[in-house]
Symmetry: C2
Subunit: 382 residues, 2 copies
């Protein structure tokens, strides 16, 4: 399907959006189709079911997938609108830029936010988390992968701390940059909300907010007056239940083509055990990090155990900055991302290795990136 490749298309290896497969792009060009049509309803319904599968959840658990036109950020507002009331205490575990922003969002909805901040490149200590839980907050948020630092939070471990020290606290995982690239066991870990978007591990163009809410989270939302309209779960959950049951239903028009694209990607992702996909991302990450280590580069995360598998935040060699490196990579048709975290913004850059780039290694995307970096840094002659 080379007709979809723009002549000037460059390899996109930022921490999202990522490279999309041709079948996904073709699905995004589905002709005009009614959001209530017999053609579309089963596609939407199946996508909801497959999303549960990717997150290792089950219908029996009562978990509720919610797909709404929007970006990943809309998921933060969904938490504020549907789970927070003025004065509610929320603990935000902060591993970078996205913790700051999530906290700012929740404060707009009246949350009393207690941020537990890690040093740049690190994660909050168990002691700090346990201390924050002592006040029994209503909600705790975890940024699974903060794309500003490339730090991977140990979500399963943190969830176990919450279950032990404050079991009524709702656990919200900001998984924008981890769904379908990092391990997430929604039911087993006892998560309450997973927030994501399509343009990262799910491998679908941006424009869909992806949420999975636990039965417990849905019950909490049902008792509140939502603080917004467009992302009110009271409005959307009946619609999602209808789509999943194969019935036409309308609240606001879903992004039909993006749902076709998501369905295509979800079917591909779930055609193999999700654990295989996670392993493929670990292998891709190991390749990238080993190669960059071998040429003497350092990483933003303090150690490999807390480094994301879907992206790498790598420090420039001493004396170099983004303008010395990124334009030269772009000349080689390789698009990486500049720094984002204010404290170190000029000191590092970011490489995404999610979706087809990580899983379909025959594409050679990773070798292209590594060779490009070696060339630009003059390390290709070793």
């Amino acid at each position: 399907m080379s007709e979809f490749k723009q002549a000037d298309h460059k390899l996109l290896v930022i921490p999202g959006p990522i490279e999309f497969s041709d079948p996904v792009l073709l699905a995004n060009a589905t002709p005009g189709t009614a959001h209530t049509s017999p053609a579309f309803i089963p596609v939407f319904g199946e996508s909801l079911k497959l999303l549960r599968k990717v997150l290792e959840s089950t219908e029996e658990s009562g978990s509720q997938p919610i797909l709404i036109a929007g970006s990943g950020t809309l998921g933060w507002d969904a938490v504020g609108v549907n789970l927070v009331q003025r004065g509610d205490e929320v603990v935000v575990l902060n591993t970078g830029y996205f913790g700051d922003s999530f906290a700012e969002c929740l404060e707009i909805y009246g949350a009393k936010v207690n941020q537990v901040k890690a040093e740049v490149g690190d994660i909050p200590s168990d002691d700090a988390i346990i201390k924050a839980l002592s006040s029994k907050p209503k909600v705790i948020t975890i940024t699974h992968v903060d794309t500003s630092t490339g730090v991977l939070s140990p979500a399963a471990h943190i969830a176990s701390l919450v279950k032990k020290h404050s079991p009524d606290t709702l656990i919200v995982l900001d998984a924008v940059c981890s769904v379908a690239s990092e391990e997430i066991k929604f039911d087993e870990w006892g998560l309450d909300v997973v927030i994501s978007a399509t343009q990262k591990g799910l491998g679908v163009p941006p424009g869909l907010s992806v949420v999975l809410a636990s039965k417990r989270a849905v019950e909490v939302s049902e008792k509140l007056t939502p603080q917004g309209y467009y992302i009110s779960w009271k409005k959307w959950i009946p619609i999602m239940k209808n789509y999943e049951a194969g019935k036409p239903s309308y609240f606001a028009t879903p992004p039909v083509q993006l749902v076709y694209a998501l369905n295509t990607s979800l079917k591909s992702i779930t055609s193999k055990p999700i654990s295989e996909r996670v392993e493929a991302h670990k292998a891709a990450s190991k390749y990238v990090k080993d190669e960059l280590s071998a040429i003497g580069l350092d990483f933003v995360p303090k150690n490999r155990d807390i480094a994301a598998n879907g992206m790498t935040a790598v420090r420039f060699p001493q004396g170099l900055k983004a303008p010395d490196v990124l334009p030269k990579l772009a000349e080689r048709d390789i698009v990486v991302a500049a720094g984002l975290h204010k404290a170190i913004v000029t000191e590092y850059f970011r490489i995404g290795h999610m979706g087809v780039t990580a899983v379909d290694r025959q594409r050679g995307d990773l070798e292209k990136v590594i060779n490009g970096i070696k060339e630009v840094l003059g390390k290709n002659k070793d």
Copy 2:
């Protein structure tokens, strides 16, 4: 580009989503592209400028286009979040389902809503509007085309009443089903906010919330604390200004492929005077309504002067309901929409004639619809 036509694609003639042109669908399949890339920034920037042009506004007026991932409904929340504070008085002119819903949305944001309701198929009287304006509300909303009734509100006339009787009142036009199909003169009429979406007259897959705000509306929003995060204009306007100025900028990831698709459609739309496009929709509407009148059908709008040009709400012949007609049209690969307005839901159906269906008459879409209806109703032998 017949490879984009699904084998089972049916002609989509509902009041949105509509049929999309092949170049627009191709643009929606643009490969993964960074939202901050030199490839994408000018495409986004140009789309903002062209949107102003479609709405007959100018940069000199200080009007601000805002494109965010979301559906048309998100625009209602944008008004609630950015222009309303608790206790503010808002007048909602109600010509159907979408007036009820807009009112419900604004009440969530604390607006004291005064609904001026028309009879089904009619518009509010001048006297009723003038009376509602006597309390000098902060905002008045007009549903330009209520797709539940097919009623077209005389927006220019209503705006002139507001200018005369309560000039400080902000005029919000819900133009989801009228942008690029009905006449809208943003600057000349003195509108403050136009809300729309991509899947109707703009001819682009659903998933983008489209807003144009006047300088005056932006100034009002700047003095408020926004009641949300994702659709805060304080967050987005600097981003939009940067895109328009050709600079990379990030708040939340825009739906890159949809912006390419919108850009493709906007360039096509603005390649001719917008008045020609409006006339084409009037001609399409006249053809449909004349043909349906000729076989004895009646319409929901009380007269042609207040009937939309982008859609037709038509009553079933006595004794027939949706299950007697719509499935038989679907068998003929024609998808129209059932009724939506509760008071008359079983009594009528809706035909969309926007975008390529109205403008590219060589497609023969309208003839196919009319012939299909005649066949199904047994009126093809006259």
